[in-house]
Amino acid sequence: MALKKVKGSLERVFDKNLHDLVRGIRNHKDDEAKFIAQCIDEIKQELRQDNIAVKANAVAKLTYLQMLGYDISWAAFNVIEVMSSNKFTFKRIGYLAASQSFHEETEVLMLTTNMIRKDLSSQNQYDAAIALNGLSCFMTPDLARDLANDVMTLMTSTRPYIRKRAVLIMYKIFLKFPEALRPAFPRLKEKLEDPDPGVQSAAVNVICELARKNPKNYLSLAPVFFKLMTSSTNNWVLIKIIKLFGALTPLEPRLGKKLIEPLTNLIHSTSAMSLLYECINTVIAVLISLSSGMPNHNASIQLCVQKLRILIEDSDQNLKYLGLLAMSKILKTHPKSVQAHKDLILQCLDDKDESIRLRALDLLYGMVSKKNLMEIVRKLMVHMDKAEGSMYRDELLSKIVQICSQNNYQYITNFEWYVSVLVELTRVEGTRHGSVIASQMLDVAIRVKAIRAFAVEQMAQLLENSHTVASSAQRNGICEVLYAAAWIAGEFSEHLRDPRGTLDDMLRQKVTSLPGHIQAVFVQNIMKLYAAILVKYEEDEDNDGIREVSDLLVEKLPMFVQSGDLEVQERACCILQLMKYVKKLQDKDVSCADEVAALFAGELNPVAPKAQRKVAVPEGLDLDKWINDPPSDSSDDEGPANSLFIPDDSRMMNESMTRPVVEELSDDELERRREARRAETQNNPHYLKLGASAKGSKYQEVVNVEDIPVANIDLSVPLYVPGTKRLSDKYLEAERQARKRDKKRRHGKKSKRRHKSESEEDVPVVHKVDIMGGEMPEGATESGDEGNLELDDNDPHKLLDIDLDRPLDADEKLPVRTHRIVSPSAEDRPVEEKKKHHRKDKEKEKKRKEKEKKKSKKEKKRNKSGDDSAHPSLLIATELMSPGHEAIPSPGEEEEVAPPSAPVKKDTTPKKEEPKDDLDFWLSGQDAPVAVEVTAPEPGAAADVDSDAEDTSRHKKKKEKKAKKEKKEKKEKKEKKKKSKVANDEDVDSGRRDGFEELNSDGPPLPPMSSYRLLAEDSNIKMTYETRVQSQQGQQLIVSVIFTSLAEQHLKSLEFNVMDSLNTKMDRLPGATTHDGVPVPFQLPPNSFNEGQFAFQVQSINVAQKLRGTLTYTIKTEESSTSEKLDFKLYLPCTAFLIATPCSSDAFARLLQGGELSSKYSIKLSSGGAPFSHVLAKVCFYGHFAIVEQIDQSASLYSCSTQGHHICLLVKANGGGDVSIDGKCADGSLLSNVMEEIKVTAS
């Protein structure tokens, strides 16, 4: 019975799962809301049950409802319940719901910390993954602080699946808990070189995002990213990096210089449009940041513009859109380049897609010139007629105004045309840009004196037709133009043809339906107009006219008096009273026209927009100074808190009283300033005043208007026929005619001028115009906006503006969870714990690696850098952290190094390199690294090398010479140093050669011997190398590598990198980390070879070294370029550090007797039938020994190591082809190693 009950309830519970819900919603289309309400009730019931499966089902349904837009925050606690389930399927449902519905303000999140921590550390990688996923959606500052360390640990997980996610989530943690950034950053940086491309790309993502917001802190990473950019083939990563560089270059223009080449290469080579687009964008950004002082990037700009043209011409609307978008960026700095594609852009104005047309409009302002402005505007006006939707029409309208008015009306040659365009624009239906047009009208009428008469005429017409405009007044803002019309007609009424008629127009009943501020202008200007008419009538002594017009005003003005708008009412009342007074005087036959006109005498001058801001603070006035003593300072703060809330009345009174005093004080000052100002305006050419037009304005000087033939425009054509043919077209026509005439005239004398016909100069400027800057306070100059773009205070990234190059302080570590506060040694504990943990990890990692090695060679290529490098715990890293790079000892050291004991100490001492300087060096444009020097192989060595090498050596030399020449300049600084080096080299070689010559003379020909060993080889490239040492530099070793191209294609961007060991380090560019390769300073054309030298610093020479390394290079074909890698092992035998030094037999004997050479070692090798002389030659050649003495079948040999070890050998041929060698040296291990090496090489 009970069972049945349970079963029943189970059935009931499961009768509606997610599928049923979805289906149900579909079936209840009419009463969806009701159905869902019902479902939610059921869900609430289900959530009350104890059965977790039921709850999970309910939560799954809630997730669906949440997606539909329903609020499910009430179920947050149940979601957490499901999240904490042990069963993965339920847990997943819970996390999904949480990631959809939780956010920072969800309070129950406080409860989740430990649960999430548990999931993060779960053995099941999918548990950890969903926890990380969820966390990314609902990270809170608390969670970030508490879990930062756990996520950090996951960053070193053995599973890339987890590492990848952990890296990404770090970004969210940084945002919510900025303190985590510095301790976590070194590890994050390591992930840039993670062997898993997914992790790598995640790290790139995060760092790019961080760097984009606070670029200056990440400049030092530029070399790393640069390397990634040139080596990565993942387009997603490339896009990110390239974008990042776009953000970095404004801070460091030299970086831009470095970027141009690889970016243009990518532009040429990539087939991915997204990457291409990104490259172009960044090149543009780079060029913008370089725009001053870098004239030689025209080629790049041209390339970009060409590629963009291809995009714009594409039939794909998306490409077209983006092409135009990018074009507009170029336009800002390189307008000329874009103007070349005017045709294309104008064509886009006709595109069927409005978005594209809008983008094309954005470009338009850069396309106009004096010559084509009229045409373009006409085209836009036609578009405006056709346009559907007021949005686009408005955009067109504002663009017309923008392109015409830009640069102080630079491109307008005929203002009559412009005014008529503006008037025509008033007829555009439903625009909201009425005020824009109005302000243009005002601006032009005020600033272009010559146009006033014409403008006034046009305005009069507008007023006459105001009913058409006013009728649409309610619909939109076009009635704003009446504001301008009334003001212009009133202010410049002297130009009116029929002032009386205009006055009538302004007094129409309809006017009262206009908005208040426009009516106010009407009222004011009616009075101005009246004054003008009055003056005129009095001159004509037309007393009837005077009376009539006065009566008209007195009769009509009351309609404004009744206006609801205060401003209108006040003005109307005032003016009405004035009128009544004037009328009274007129009735007494007193002529008062002059007095009335005097009300409006004087001219209004334009004021510069920034004038107010530029008003200088008068001398002696300190705005920051307290007027009274400052209110009680900090000492008072400690008093009773409530005193803060009781305002000190007396003080406040005091303050308000004293304020005027200050003004009084500055009154003298003001007076003085006024005087000065008056004087100034007299002399200021920019100050518009009566008669100013006589003086040449700035504008005139530039255009030299006097030289330009003034085209006659037939003004007799009746101008005021509103609504008929386009007035502006007439001007266009006139201009065309004029140009035609002009051309004809000029036809005779072509040559020189023709060239210029494209230029702006010869476009006739119809009007002699005065355009000037506005009035400014004296001493102030116009200047650009000083507004600085800073991150918004609310932007979380503001907090991430953290210096990452500064070494970590001891207390900068992530909060580690500790159970209880414990003994004094507690501080160390987490470190140890971690170490253990990591060690374990490492072991696992090694095992895994071994497996993987078998599995895939690809993995192997990169394996070292990432995984284990991450292991040294963060806290150790804190201690080891050096200022710049190499924060954490590279993993290779532990694996490779022979005697790890001694050098460790040295290695851990921080390098004293300023990261900034490193970057400086990297950026200084020195392509050739210090260590790499290309020299011709020494003749001595070449001579001994087999015949092949000898053949080619000539070519080599030639090439090298060339290379040398090119580098000469760069290297001049180091010339001295190098010279001595070369000299040394020669010494050494002559020593070696000496030995051989003796041998050579000895008899049978020697088998070919080459000191060049094969380093590595693949289908494209072969590397052979030789080591070179110099006696004075005991710790330096030069590896000279001959790169031989086996490919048909060009090999580019070769980079030679060797994993440093504790004992041996490659000299890199300053600032490069141990993971950075040294760029090989040449490219390899097909079937060529070249030699590069790489310097190594070696601590101890008594053990042979085997270093792992990688050569990366790019195969460049016409269509594409692919990056390749070649791994190698660089073997540095002990004999490499020996220098065959000639030694006299006396000295040799003394050395042996001195007792200093305490160690002995003997080997036997079989000559294999070769004559003794050959064996000897081999020993000498490969072992770098010089023959001291040779007697028959025995010889004594001597060599000296770079660190001053003497090695003496006695080589004896025993019977039966055996050769025995006995050696003596002070250093036993060196001796034994050297001799074992000889045994291998000589037999």
């Binding site: 997610l18 837009g69 990314s136 995060v206 995002e209 687009y277 609307q317 897609d353 978005s355």
Partner: protein
Amino acid sequence: MLKFILLVNKQGQTRLAQYYEHPEHERVSIERDIIRKCLAREDSQCSFLEYKNFKLVYRRYASLYFIVGVDHTENELAILELIHNIVETYDKYFDKVCELDIMFNLDKAYMILEEMVMNGRIVEMNQNRILLPIRVMDQAAQ
């Protein structure tokens, strides 16, 4: 970075909504507005829209619109590629994906999306690698 991914059918009904930035307020009304804007566009128009302070990149597949909101730094073409990849991945997993597949397997659809985009950033574009963990979980569930 990505702000959200929306999957909407021709009738304007949301079929999947993944937000990577908590929408400030009124998610529903904004969502509706965005959907309306995108649905109103014609085929001849380009797939990008400026919307408030971010960009919309959308693409239509039969009756489903994929709408992605991105900030201004994102590369539009790359986002289009992402959308296409999402669709291909769905297609691969659901075998000829249709609206109903996504409606009835919303959790799977979310999971796939989670594999591809996390934290508003693209994490994985390899379809096999995306689907691997999901297939593993499917097997575990059986």
